[in-house]
Structure formats: C-alpha cells, structure tokens
C-alpha cells in the first residue's frame, strides 16, 4: 500500500503565559496515523476543545511546523515544502474547509473570486471560458452551478450553500485530501446533514480522502470510516468508527461517549437529572 498521508510521532509545543508566568503547553503529543492512497476514507478526529485537533489539522496543511516528528504527504515531507511552486503544488492536493462558512469568505469579496482564483492558479487556466467551465464542474459536484453563484456575496447565501461552495472550491484543483476542521459546528442540524452527506459522496464518487474534525460524536458516527479520539494532545483511542464510538474502551472516550446527549427528551433529561444529583 502507498500512503497518502503519514504522521509519525508528531508533537507540537506552544509557549504560553503572560509576563512572568510562562510555561510550555504540549498541544499535540506523539500523534501517528496513516491514510491509504488507494482507499479513500473519511477519517475523523474527535475530542474536547483544546485537545489539539485544530493544531493537528494546521500541521497537516503546512500552516504550522511540528516541534518534532514528521508529516509526509505522498511520500514527501510537508516540512520540505518550501518554494512557492512546491507550496502551490502541495496545496493543489491538500485543501482545507473551515469551520465557519460566514467567516471563511470575506464578506466584501464576491464568492466567485475564490473559485476563479483557485482555478487560475492551480489549474493554470488563463482562458475565461476554461475557468468558468472548471468552476462550474466543481459546483455541479456539490449540487450548485456557476450561474447561481456568480457575482454573489457571502451574505446572499445560506450557511449550507456557503459551505458547499467552500467544498466546491476545494475540489477545483482535484485534491487527494480535504481537511475539514469542524465544518458543521456553526450550522443547524438540518444543514449539518447536507454537508456530511456531501462528504460521503465525494469519497465515493471522486475518491477524495477527508479528515473530518469535530466534537459532534453523532455526525462522526454517521459518516466516518475511522476515528481517533484526542484528549489533551494525546490520541487516546483509534480504530473503526463503530468500534471506537459504539464501544469505547479508554476511560476518556467513555466519558465523552456518555456525555453525548441523545435527541430524546426522556433519556436526555434523565441524564441531566442524574448529573444534578451527582453535584
């Protein structure tokens, strides 16, 4: 098997603290995992806030260098990506999707600018018609069309649509991997579903691997192939989604699992009442 993405004992430390009380924070500790190039999958990272999910994602995207350990994308060390050309090349294979669809687009820029810019730069297209065609194709994948998007601003579209456009944009260069950091945490339940469904489609039809970062265990369960659970920078549990989430073994995973409230008033209120009594 050839690896798409390999993380080997990746660590990241931050210096934090104020004027006099500085200390080192180990944001990510000894993280290792591998994604297979041949077998696209949805690889989910879950964990409480501050557990190092975003930091890991940023390292994969090359926005952050690890304190130690190596990250390799298609055999090449991400840290070795230096020149602008290499960087563009890397970005054409690895693309991000951000948490807040309203934040990810500058409200003062038309949305198509992002799409066109991506097409021009990564596909090297000069011709207007070719750019339009490539853009439209990508939008079709997410169930939209260029006609609907052209000349519009982010506030003119719903969060779900924006997130789809973000995905479409990420698809334009024909990436192998999409890193989605909490792509649904800001939207309501219905929209959530439309986006995670889209991920599933991409994996199946375009063969794109997706690293899906979330603290929503329910959607994680819903779409993931594999899951890792992070806690204070450590990966505490990893494996197939049904196993890790359906039947967690690590203490923290179990706590997390049990904290998930089901959308059922009877069970949910009982859990809270239980909790109340415990205090």
């Amino acid at each position: 098997m050839s690896a798409l993405l390999e993380l080997e004992d990746v660590n990241k430390d931050y210096r934090v603290g104020g004027f006099l009380d500085r200390s080192t924070l180990h944001a990510v500790k000894h993280v290792s995992f591998t994604l297979d190039a041949e077998k696209p999958e949805i690889f989910t990272v879950v964990g409480e806030s501050g557990s190092g999910k975003t930091t890991t994602a940023r390292m994969i995207l090359g926005n952050e260098t690890p304190t130690s350990g190596t990250l390799r994308f298609m055999g090449k060390g991400i840290a070795q990506v230096r020149t602008r050309k290499e960087r563009l090349d890397f970005m054409s294979r690895v693309q991000p999707i951000f948490q807040n669809p309203f934040e990810a687009f500058n409200p003062l820029t038309t949305l198509d600018y992002y799409l066109f810019s991506t097409a021009r730069r990564f596909l090297g297209l000069k011709d207007k018609a070719a750019v339009d065609a490539a853009t439209d194709k990508a939008l079709q994948h997410v169930g939209l069309s260029l006609a609907e998007v052209r000349g519009r601003y982010s506030h003119e579209l719903s969060g779900g649509q924006l997130q789809r456009i973000a995905v479409a944009r990420a698809l334009i260069p024909g990436p192998k991997l999409i890193v989605a950091d909490e792509p649904v945490s800001m939207v309501d339940a219905s929209l959530r579903m439309s986006i995670v469904n889209l991920f599933r489609e991409l994996r199946d039809t375009l063969g794109v691997s997706i690293i899906y970062i979330t603290h929503d265990l329910s959607t994680a369960y819903y779409i993931s192939d594999r899951v890792i659970i992070m806690h204070k920078g450590d990966v505490v549990e990893a494996g197939r989604a049904e196993e890790v989430l359906g039947n967690p073994t690590h203490e923290y995973s179990r706590a997390l699992r049990s904290a998930v409230l089901p959308p059922d008033p009877v069970v949910a209120s009982a859990i809270i009442r239980e909790k109340l009594r415990a205090i």
Partner: protein, 285 residues
C-alpha cells in the same frame, strides 16, 4: 463612483456639508490660475488696505490682494499637504500591511525601521535636511521628506489591523484559493484598513500643514511660492498682527480651518460609507 457621490450627497448631511465646504475652498484655490496679477508680484496695489468692496479680504503690506494670495497659498499648501498625506499613507499602508501580514523576520525588520523613524525628532531632521538640500529644496522634496517622517506611527496602527486579519479564516481560505500576497493584501485586507487610512490621513494632513507653517515661521521656506506658511511668514516680517493688519493672517487661517472641517466631514462620512461594518449592513449582510 458617481453613484456613490450622489448617494452620499443625498443621504448624508455631513458629507454634503463637507463636500460643499471642500469644493468651495477647492474652487477658490483653483481660481488662482485666473488671478489678475502674478502671485508673487508685490507693490502693485496700495498696501495695508482693510477689507472693502474693492479688496474683499484687504491687501497686504506688500501691496498684494489677500484674496488672490490666499487663493494660491491654499492651492500650494493643499498640494503640499495632500502630497505628504498620500505619500505617507502609501508608505504606512505598505509597511503596516506587509509587516502585519508576513510577520516574522519581515515584521521585525520593518518595525525596527519604523521605531527608528518614530524616534527621529521631526523638526531638527527637517531643518537639517533643508540645509543639506538648500536651493534644491523644492516643495516636492520637502513633501517627500515630511512624508518619510510622517508615516511611522500610522504604520503601526495599520499593522495591528492586519495582524488581526491575518488569523481570520477568510485569509487562510484565500491562501488556499491560491491568491498571491498582493492579492490578499489588496483585495481582502485593504477594505478593512481603509477606515484607519482615512482617519489617520486627516491628522497627517494637519500635521503636514503645521509643519509647513512651522518651517516658514522659522524662516525656512521658498519665499517665491505663496503658501499658508509663506503668508504667515511675510505677515510676520511686516509685524502684521501688531500693526493691525489682521486680515493678512485671519483670512488664510479661517480658510485652513474650513478646509480642515470640510475634509474632516468628508473623511468621516466617506469612512462610514466604506467601513466594512456599515458597508455590510448596507449590502444586507
């Protein structure tokens, strides 16, 4: 462009007042091209005439019509002030944005230069430069020197705005959309920096005009070219205030105040127009 102007004029009373004031002063200044006498001609009119129907703003002790002197003085001073302001804004924007966006070594390098410039005291440096340049010290050179001294504090302000934009998601998104650094800075960040630019431009303009006056008062100016500072200089040479020739100084100062108020009103109302916050509410976001 025209539509924006129309909108502003119609719906923003501050803009309307500012516009009228500025336009009036501008037209007044422009009129000097049609002045009946060359602007440095002296003693062609009776000196020291108080304001009257014939000489609206009186005449100077040098036998010049204050009206026409003012007209060219405002023109020249405006030219100088705006040149300084524009040049220094360009510098401040370039340094502030690049420093804030690129960070790291660039930031350290640019901010060290910036801090050095902040520490340089303006007046002595300008006067020394004046000596070095001597008769090559034309107003554009002076404007350039002043601009070089007048950008640094504002560059810091702009840097801090860019710094906060750098970590916004849309910036990261833009990077992955393949946008180049200039594209990101100009298309994505500049709109957010615009209000700072406008706001600081007003203070810078006043500073530049004040500088010109200061240099003139200290006797460092091109006396062949009427400016506000130049008028004060000559009025001073003729002890106009003591001699009671108040109109020689009062009218130009009133004009400067009006010009400033006009530009200020324009700046705040245009600011409101271009401020991303209000622009967004206008767009309906």
């Amino acid at each position: 462009m025209f539509k924006i102007l129309r909108d502003l004029l119609r719906y923003n009373i501050e803009f309307a007042i500012g516009f009228v004031l500025t336009l009036a002063i501008f037209l007044f200044a422009l009129a000097h091209f049609w002045a009946p006498l060359p602007d440095n001609a002296i003693y062609l009119l009776p000196p020291d005439m108080p304001p009257s129907a014939q000489y609206w703003f009186g005449t100077t002790s040098r036998g010049q019509d204050v009206l026409w002197q003012m007209s060219s003085a405002i023109w020249n001073t405006m030219l100088f002030g705006l040149s300084v302001t524009i040049l220094s804004r360009l510098l401040a924007v370039a340094v502030g944005m690049i420093s804030g966006y690129l960070g790291g070594k660039w930031d350290e390098f640019l901010m060290t230069i910036n801090d050095t410039m902040i520490a340089l005291p303006n007046i002595p440096i300008l006067l020394l430069v004046y000596f070095v340049m001597r008769d090559q010290m034309s107003w554009p050179v002076l404007a350039l020197t002043a601009a070089l001294l007048g950008w640094n504090y504002d560059a810091r302000l702009i840097r801090s705005v860019t710094l906060s934009l750098r970590n916004r998601e849309f910036t990261r998104h833009a990077v992955f959309a393949g946008m180049s650094v200039p594209q990101i800075l100009v298309r994505q960040h500049l709109p957010y920096v615009m209000p700072v630019i406008f706001f600081t431009a007003m203070n810078n303009l006043i500073w530049a005009i004040g500088l010109e006056v200061t240099l003139s008062v200290l006797g460092f100016s091109d006396i062949n070219r009427p400016t506000i500072g130049g008028m004060i200089y000559w009025a001073n040479q003729h002890q106009a205030i003591i001699a009671g020739i108040w109109w020689w100084i009062a009218f130009p100062i009133i004009a400067v105040v009006l010009l400033f108020l006009g530009l200020f009103l324009l700046a705040i109302s245009v600011n409101e127009y271009i401020d991303p916050r209000s622009r967004l509410s206008r767009m309906g976001a």
